[in-house]
Amino acid sequence: MQFDLATQSLREINAALHHSDREEGEEFVIAHPKGTHSVAVGLSDAINVTIDGHVGYYCAGMNKNASIHIAGNAGPGLAENMMSGRVVVDGNASQYAGASGHGGLLVIKGNTSSRCGISMKGINIVVGGSIGHFGAFMAQSGRLVVCGDCGGNLGDSIYEAHIFVRGEIDSLGSDCIEKEMTPDHKRELQNLLQNAGIHYSAAEFRRYGSERTLYNFNIDNADAI
């Protein structure tokens, strides 16, 4: 089914995508997004949506089960709080992509900027290019894969999320350290890259995670309060 944001309202299109009669695997195309906010948010059926162009804030937010393909760039808040499903961006994405996501796979083929995967809680994020500062800030679980470089303060105050980086890192945040890449981690990463359709070898990546020094109250830090 074809939609066109040049002639139809956003609410009309999102309501049609939410309709209870949607069949699994049903295909939808949305034309002329022109930076519109909140395109294809809150989907809960296993449908396939292609957005033909650049989108604004909050595209694919709260996604569950749906597969959403953005043939362009995405603005801030892409796939926020995603529960499951798949979101693929051909171009770049702006700030806090995949924030607080609980599950599913977010693939950004280009670059993304600051706070990518902030407070992620189980989502897998694969970035083909580079990310900005404060990536995976307070990330709790899930995986962040960066094929390019990372800005400063990567993984600040991280819990148990896994971070894999192929390029350079400006700086690691508090309590984030490089960790051993075991054969299990390599398998985990290779599967993820394959799912994302990105052709790098897991052997090119290094792994980062929590040093776990912030987990418990430390009386020596009481003065900082």
Binding site: G75, S94, S113, S114
Partner: protein, 309 residues
């Protein structure tokens, strides 16, 4: 939340459509700033050594012709008058410092919005779409412009609190964000001889740049100093006679998008404003990095040059 727009035309054939493009972009950013709007547009330079002054009057029946005749008599020169709603542009071969001083002492009831050779600043309260219509921006031609839509968060909604703020000859600033050290900085700048019309934080950023430029710094050097001295959130666009610059604070919470193709360079708070430009979809689009100064300048050969400093 506010909206910022900047457009710099590389292709001179598009100059007759600058106002149309900027009006479209401004309207698109109306949701981000419905309280007031303003545009600094660069066009029709004054004769060499001469001046162009943008004036604002609160009087609905302002007699601009009488004012112009008065200035002509005082300077023994011809003044060109252009009226757009509450604003008027006075262009002449009078030196810029002399005309500014004369206006300040003779017309204290008028507000000087900008001074320089080619800058014109128009700003008013109201929805950006209405403001654009009131001034007739759509019909303006020019080489480049920066514009702003304001959602007031920390000070009153008045014409004086609206952006762009003049920061010196042919210079202006628009701001999305909020500064946290503006009161202390305003006190400091006042002691250095700075003058402020409002309690607005963005006016302090403009006053800060004016002060750095008066110390002999270039726009780029003044922005480098701003990264050190301004505390808070900001995306700035700074218009100058040759082009415009963009700077985001080191945390970079406030959005900004840059786009460029063979015909133009555009910046905005959101891509949807840029989407209104011809062939936007196929331009090179990216997000400016934190604490990095981007600037475009029109060289003597009229070809656009980009410098990420």
């Amino acid at each position: 939340m506010c909206g910022i727009v900047g457009l710099y035309l590389k292709n001179p054939e598009l100059e007759s459509r600058l106002g149309e493009f900027v009006s479209d972009m401004l309207e698109e950013m109306g949701d981000r700033g419905p309280d007031s709007a303003g545009v600094a547009i660069y066009r029709n330079p004054a004769p060499e050594g001469g001046s162009k002054v943008s004036l604002f009057s609160t009087s609905s029946d302002e007699d601009w012709s009488a004012r112009t005749a008065q200035a002509s008599q005082a300077f023994d020169l011809e003044f060109d008058l252009e009226i757009h709603a509450s604003h008027a542009i006075l262009t002449s071969s009078a030196p810029v410092d002399e005309i500014e001083r004369w206006i300040r002492s003779n017309w204290p009831d008028l507000r000087i919005m900008s001074v320089g050779e080619s800058i014109e600043i128009y700003k008013e309260m109201g929805h950006p779409k209405d403001v654009a219509e009131r001034f007739g921006f759509k019909n303006f031609s020019g080489t480049h412009a920066v514009a702003h839509t304001r959602m007031a968060t920390e000070s009153a909604v008045t014409t004086e609190h609206s952006h762009p703020f003049s920061t010196g000859l042919d210079l202006c600033l628009v701001h999305n964000g909020s500064l946290s050290n503006h009161n202390r900085l305003r006190n400091y700048l006042t002691r250095q001889g700075g003058q402020f019309q409002t309690d607005n934080d963005s006016e302090v950023a403009a006053g800060y740049l004016t002060w750095r430029l008066s110390l002999g710094e270039s726009v780029v050097d003044a922005l480098e100093s701003a990264i050190r001295d301004l505390d808070g959130f900001y995306t700035f666009a700074i218009g100058s006679s040759n082009g415009f610059s963009v700077l985001r604070d080191p945390i970079a919470c406030k959005p900004a998008v840059l786009a460029e193709n063979d015909d133009w360079v555009a910046m905005s708070s959101e891509y949807r404003a840029i989407a209104r430009l011809p062939d936007a979809k196929h331009s090179n689009i990216w997000e400016p990095a934190p604490a990095q100064i981007y600037s475009w300048e029109r060289s003597n050969s009229d070809a656009g040059t980009q410098n990420a400093v």
